[in-house]
């Protein structure tokens, strides 16, 4: 793999400044170390549609969409106009504004089982609060989650190694995705102690293939929860509003008690939400919930506009169609070059790895070649499509992919039946 110091010179210079005053320079999921260090941009300058420009003036067709928040388009005119209109009156007050009530009403109307809604800023605000609601409602402590699933960076669930202690996780127990038996075994082992099961709608771990739910898995999880009086929490932070406007559970045939949204909820404006059933309203009212900016008006106005556009333009369907075309094209292109791929996850949130490889060498080269050709993709994290991706963009991606697959073939050779 080669680095491109000239192409990303400004990114590098800015990073050197950052590293002097910020631990790690750029921490978290956007850390260069987690993507393509030296071979992709580190800082963005502006974005529009499904494209963005980095600080070196390089332009990219974006298949990450800011890691999910951009579901319509960068700088979507209706969303930004709604935000700007509200910003003229102000954003952060001593009180919430009427738009909070409007947004709560809208979301409750959209999500079939929901009777109430609360708001925050990030997904982890909501997943962590949801655990608290489950514990308050049941009087129990234990939480079951899927091994490898990401629910945020709080101590109970952070994928990082530092800053948490054993006691933060002593009541958190994991089971493998799609293994209903393992989940039920845990429920039996900790009978009357489990407050909640938290799951995503489909499995999208970092550094691993995505996996859709096996038939009966999520419905079985729901049934087990109902039987044992356990709260079922759907973490729809990543998949929310990309698979179904009313929550991803509608796609996979189950009903949670709580659902958490963020990312696409505001098309880039910082907002998250948890919605819950009537039965949990009382417990929800007893779990303290607040943050300095959690009732800010501008993101809520943006969110209302975003939801309006999502529904009017049937964005979910558009994402599915675009995603299917992308999948078909990429899988076929890889096969033509004898470097077959695994293309996993929902079409609106796909992830690509190479058959026979679990160490990402080919993925890293392929993604770097795509970035060189102006397409931003990620070797270790699922991608996201937005409404601004259409047939023209798919064609552009596939054109770049031809060269990228050829490069993988040239470096690694064709994938043999017993791959290296």
């Amino acid at each position: 793999m080669h680095t491109e110091p000239t192409r990303f010179a400004q990114s590098r210079a800015l990073f050197e400044r950052a590293a002097a005053v910020i631990p790690g320079g750029i921490p978290g999921h956007t850390a260069p170390a987690a993507t393509l260090p030296g071979a992709s941009p580190y800082f963005a300058r502006r974005a529009w549609g499904c494209r963005y420009e980095d600080v070196d003036g390089n332009e990219f067709l974006d298949l990450l969409c800011a890691y999910g928040p951009i579901v319509l388009a960068y700088d979507h005119p209706e969303v930004e106009e709604a935000a700007a209109r509200h910003a003229r009156d102000g954003n952060c007050f001593n009180h919430p504004t009427p738009v909070m009530v409007e947004l709560a009403e809208r979301l409750v109307a959209l999500v079939d089982f929901a009777a109430w809604s609360v708001f925050g800023k990030n997904g982890a605000d909501m997943t962590t609060w949801a655990l608290g609601v489950a514990r308050e409602h049941t009087g129990r402590k234990k939480i079951l989650k899927v091994e490898g699933a990401y629910h945020g960076a709080h101590a109970w669930c952070s994928p990082g190694h530092g800053g948490w202690i054993e006691e933060d996780r002593m009541h958190i127990h994991g089971f493998p995705w799609n293994d209903l038996d393992a989940a039920e075994t845990l429920l039996r082992r900790h009978r009357s102690q489990v407050a909640a099961v938290i799951t995503t709608a489909f499995h999208h771990p970092a550094f691993g293939d995505s996996a859709l739910p096996a038939p009966g898995f999520l419905a079985g999880l729901e049934a087990a929860c109902r039987r044992d009086g356990v709260v079922l929490i759907l973490d729809d932070v990543r998949s929310g509003f990309r698979l179904h406007l009313g929550g991803s559970h509608r796609v996979y045939g189950f009903t949670p008690d709580l659902i958490c949204f963020s990312k696409a909820l505001g098309n880039g404006h910082p907002i998250s939400a948890t919605l819950g059933s009537a039965a949990l309203r009382r417990a929800a009212g007893r779990v303290f919930l607040t943050g300095s900016f959690w009732q800010s008006a501008v993101p809520m106005a943006a969110s209302l506009a975003c939801l309006h556009v999502l529904e009017r333009e049937n964005v979910v369907l558009r994402l599915a169609r675009t995603g299917a075309a992308l999948r078909e094209g990429l899988v076929a292109a890889a096969a033509r070059h004898d470097v077959p791929v695994r293309y996993t996850g929902a079409d609106a949130m796909p992830f690509l790895t190479f058959v026979g490889e679990t160490n990402f060498h080919r993925s890293q080269l392929w993604c770097q070649e795509m970035v060189t050709r102006g397409i931003f993709v990620h070797p270790h994290h699922n991608w996201f499509l937005c409404a601004a991706h259409g047939p023209t963009e798919v064609k552009e991606v596939l054109t770049a992919a031809e060269g990228a697959f050829a490069a993988v073939r040239a470096e690694f050779g064709p994938t043999s039946p017993a791959p290296a």
Binding site: A19, G25, A31, A33, H161, H361
Partner: protein, 263 residues
């Protein structure tokens, strides 16, 4: 092996002590001393590991019985290695050859100076000394990883949750190569040199490369911000990032037991 003293004693015996045999290859002063070193020496801890150190380049035959220095407690090992007052180890074996310990003991003193120079010694160090320091510290670190990975709490957690695979470590500026393997059972093995399990032409699952001497020095001294180092191209990491990340945690934890010297 659960206490800090136990873990530290295992590190001294399994990671640090073998460096005595590497020292003549790294420092001219050590080569002179090693000329007269004939006696293999074995350090053994009751209920713990035993490490045999042989004079380099010397074939050890049946008649070359090692002199065993028997330690009763981890604390005794630790205090011996840090020059603190403690009762001496019990010599076992050909004790009539104890005089042959002299060059070995001289080498251990030189090793300590090489691994743990004072700030003044660092400041006045020759290029040969600095290279020897880095080379030997690299070897100590690699040998320490299986010990820490098995015994230290945070390291065990990192290793358990890491994927299996082979990581190679390179520092081309010093022609240094090493490897660490996490097997399917979560056990770490490691070594200096080319990985024995890697066939020619096959890539390791992950590759870690320190791009220059200064970066290696910063990393070994715990001064390197890993995220920044990777982003700035001072360290290259390719392949199975979660494995490299987990082993990075284990590498970081070594200094909880063997503190690197301040430059």
């Amino acid at each position: 092996m659960t206490t800090r003293a136990e873990i530290t004693s295992h590190l001294y015996l399994r990671a640090v002590l073998p460096a005595v045999a590497e020292l003549p290859g790294a420092r001219a002063e050590a080569r002179e001393v090693a000329r007269t070193w004939r006696l293999p020496v074995r350090f053994a801890l009751r209920g713990g590991p035993a490490t045999l150190v042989r004079p380099p380049g010397r074939h050890v035959g049946r008649d070359d019985l090692p002199l065993t220095l028997w330690f009763f407690t981890p604390t005794q090992v630790n205090r011996t290695f840090t020059n603190q007052a403690t009762f001496p180890p019990l010599p076992l074996g050909p004790v009539w050859q104890a005089a042959g310990l002299r060059p070995f003991l001289a080498l251990t003193k030189l090793l300590q100076k090489t691994l743990e120079p004072t700030p003044t010694e660092f400041a006045n160090a020759t290029p040969e000394f600095l290279e020897a320091h880095l080379r030997l510290t690299f070897g100590v670190l690699l040998r320490a990883l299986p010990v820490i990975g098995a015994a230290d709490g945070p390291s065990r957690h990192a290793v358990v949750h890491a994927p299996a695979g082979l990581l190679t470590v390179e520092a081309p500026a010093l022609a240094l190569v090493g490897w660490v393997c996490r097997d399917d059972a979560g056990v770490l093995t490691s070594g200096v040199g080319a990985a024995p399990s890697l066939p020619t032409g096959k890539r390791p699952d992950a590759a870690l490369r320190f791009c220059d001497r200064e970066t290696l020095a910063d990393a070994l001294a715990g001064r390197l911000d890993p995220l920044a180092g990777v982003a700035l191209g001072r360290v290259e990491v390719r392949g199975l990032i979660p494995l490299a990340d987990a082993l990075g945690i284990v590498m970081d934890r070594v200094e909880h037991y063997l503190k690197p010297p301040a430059p």
